[in-house]
């Protein structure tokens, strides 16, 4: 009998995990919605008609209208693009910084390790939300600034993870063999060790997307994230707060969308982790 490859093993474990599969379906659907946003929107998301302001959900407007008479469903659909973009760009930045610093610290050890890990300790002392808020307000809120700042303030976990992986992998025989053959440090780091440390990075990146989406929505809700008239789930909720006594639909749907999205990425992340190594399973 042929031996099962790790790849097959991974897929078999992943497919049979109901939560992981539902997580991936949610994430795939979100990709579809974001990609097809202009075709799915029943109305122009920016079309203002105050005659129809603050209508509760009805046949024409399935999720009602906002204070300017814009169709909430159309704005929600367009808003999915923002969440997707923020999630991926912010996590991309955090993963690149985290992986590089973690690799350096774990590979070289000694003062490089001490310096980098001290820096990590210092960054971890800041209530992250304070730091993000301060930087965003200084830099002028914009979608790009949000993505950069979330990325630049959330790499510390990845660094610790990658460092730990490097510490254990660098002692293995194949690394010694590569060294003995005279491979340069960079070659060993990127071609020999990093490929073997990728799985925890994937897991942490998937969970990171969820966290970044939550942070963006909170910032937009506070009015320092995505700026109107661009719709984001967070800033539709701001309108919900302003009309809290009369328009529940402005508060309910965007929050639900955030909840489901974050849930999807979390399930997917945990599913990947369990499929890579069942021993790591959080029981």
């Amino acid at each position: 009998m042929q031996r099962e490859t790790p790849k097959h093993l991974f897929w078999r474990r992943f497919r049979t995990n109901g939560l992981a599969v539902s997580g991936s379906i949610i994430v795939l659907l979100l990709f579809l919605v974001a990609a097809l946003a202009p075709y799915l929107s029943p109305y122009d998301p920016g079309h203002i008609d105050t005659k129809y302001a603050l209508q509760p959900p009805n046949k024409e407007h399935l999720m009602g209208t906002d204070q300017l008479g814009r169709d909430v469903l159309s704005r929600m659909i367009l808003g999915s693009r923002i969440s997707l973009m923020v999630g991926f760009v912010a996590v991309g930045i955090a993963t690149i910084i985290g992986t590089l610093l973690g690799a350096l610290a774990g590979f070289y050890g000694r003062w490089v390790d001490i310096t980098i890990m001290r820096f990590v300790d210092i960054m971890l002392c800041f209530p992250t939300f304070f730091l993000i808020l301060a930087v965003i307000a200084i830099l002028e809120p914009s979608i790009w600034n949000i993505m950069i700042v979330i990325g630049v303030t959330s790499w510390m976990g990845v660094t610790r993870l990658v460092r730990a992986e490097f510490l254990s992998i660098r002692e293995r025989d194949f690394v010694n063999a590569a060294k003995a053959m005279g491979a340069k440090d960079l070659r060993i780091i990127f071609l020999h060790i990093l490929p073997n440390a990728l799985s925890p990075i994937w897991v942490s990146a998937t969970l990171g997307v969820a966290a970044a989406i939550l942070t963006e929505s909170a910032l937009s809700f506070l009015g320092i994230g995505v700026q109107p008239p661009s719709p984001s789930w967070g800033n539709i909720l701001t309108a919900g707060k302003e009309n809290i006594e009369i328009a529940w639909w402005l508060s309910l749907y965007p929050g639900l969308a955030i909840l489901i999205t974050v849930l999807g990425y979390n399930l997917l992340g945990e599913g990947i982790r369990d499929a890579i190594d069942p021993r790591l399973k959080q029981h």
């Binding site: 960054m123 200084i138 909170a218 809700f221 506070l222 508060s251 929050g255």
Partner: protein, 324 residues
């Protein structure tokens, strides 16, 4: 013990310095000037007047001199004066707002500990039971729910629809005229929603963590020993199991402090609670640099203290760590 404490305190000094440097650099790399708000609103202001304003604030000096001067004042707990119209010392402005923030965060932390640990222990003891599955769903939702949305929903439901609980501030308008008992009740009513909201995410996290730790511990040999010598299940779970599972939980609690403090910006802004988070939000919007820096530094110091408390309690609980 006092030597251990001393050593821990000394090791905090480089961290503190790093914290001040990062806050300082972040805030001073800004392209906008704090004088911008005053001058932009007044088109008649001359370049000369603008420069004078900058000189008053010390913004005309080189960055490292500004940092040195700021650090020197910080050493005597002087964080400078606020840029806002009241010009009050930053330290006073922050200190008068620390108690309510610390009160709410401490109460949330207590609530989290009191509810999450029993939930985790019960889920682990009855793995795969209905209770266990139910709490697992609750945990996933707890991780994914945006706290500010939860706050909005609760405000709509308990505040606007039912009218049971007030949705903003920490006391009623007629607070001064209430009887002492009514005063206490008034405070409690105002605090219920904020405390519930700020503890919700932590509840999910800690109960999940307690559960997986307990599951880990229950498999150990000494648990089997305890069972086989005929101890009651309750004694096995709580005396032999929980005590060992608690150790890493203490560390996690210490690490959750910055999250709690950071979250206070959100719920204090939503519920209009005059705490540190709200002050921070207001100052960030007004580019009140001295206050922003003060809150950043004090927030980080509170985090350091939280970690210190966690480390010390860890050392006290775990006899394997020698503190002498």
């Amino acid at each position: 013990m006092s030597y251990y404490l001393f050593k821990r305190l000394v090791s905090m000094i480089p961290l503190l310095l790093g914290i001040t440097i990062i806050s300082f650099i972040v805030i001073h790399l800004a392209p906008g000037a704090p004088t911008g708000l005053q001058t932009d609103l007044n088109p008649k202001i001359t370049a000369e007047a603008r420069a004078r304003l900058e000189a008053i604030y010390g913004l005309d000096k080189p960055l490292h001199i500004q940092y040195y001067l700021w650090l020197k004042r910080l050493a005597v707990l002087d964080l400078g004066n606020s840029f806002s119209t009241d010009r009050r010392p930053v330290m006073d402005k922050i200190l008068e707002r620390v108690p309510i923030t610390v009160l709410i965060n401490t109460l949330s932390l207590l609530l989290i500990i009191m509810i999450a640990i029993p939930i985790g222990v019960i889920s682990a003891s009855y793995q795969d039971s209905f209770f266990d599955k139910f709490t697992t769903v609750f945990v996933f939702i707890g991780f994914a729910i945006p706290t500010f949305w939860l706050a909005l929903l609760l405000m709509i439901f308990f505040g606007a629809n039912l009218g049971w609980l007030p949705i903003s501030g920490i006391k009623s308008l007629n607070y001064e005229y209430l009887s002492p008992f009514a005063m206490v009740m008034d405070r409690v009513k105002h605090l219920i929603l904020p405390i519930f909201v700020s503890s919700f995410g932590g509840l999910a996290g800690l109960s999940r963590y307690t559960r997986s730790n307990m599951l880990e511990v229950i498999r150990q040999d000494y648990i089997m020993t305890a069972r086989s010598k005929g101890l009651r299940e309750r004694a096995v779970i709580f005396k032999h199991g929980l005590r060992n599972a608690l150790l890493p939980i203490i560390t996690i609690l210490g690490l959750s402090v910055p999250g709690l403090i950071g979250g206070s910006v959100i719920f204090e802004t939503i519920f209009a609670i005059p705490g540190m988070g709200q002050l921070f939000y207001i100052s960030v919007m007004a580019r009140d640099y001295p206050v922003v820096m003060g809150v950043l530094v004090i927030g980080a110091v509170l985090t350091l203290l939280g970690n210190l408390v966690a480390d010390v309690s860890y050392a006290l609980v775990d006899p394997r760590i020698k503190v002498a």
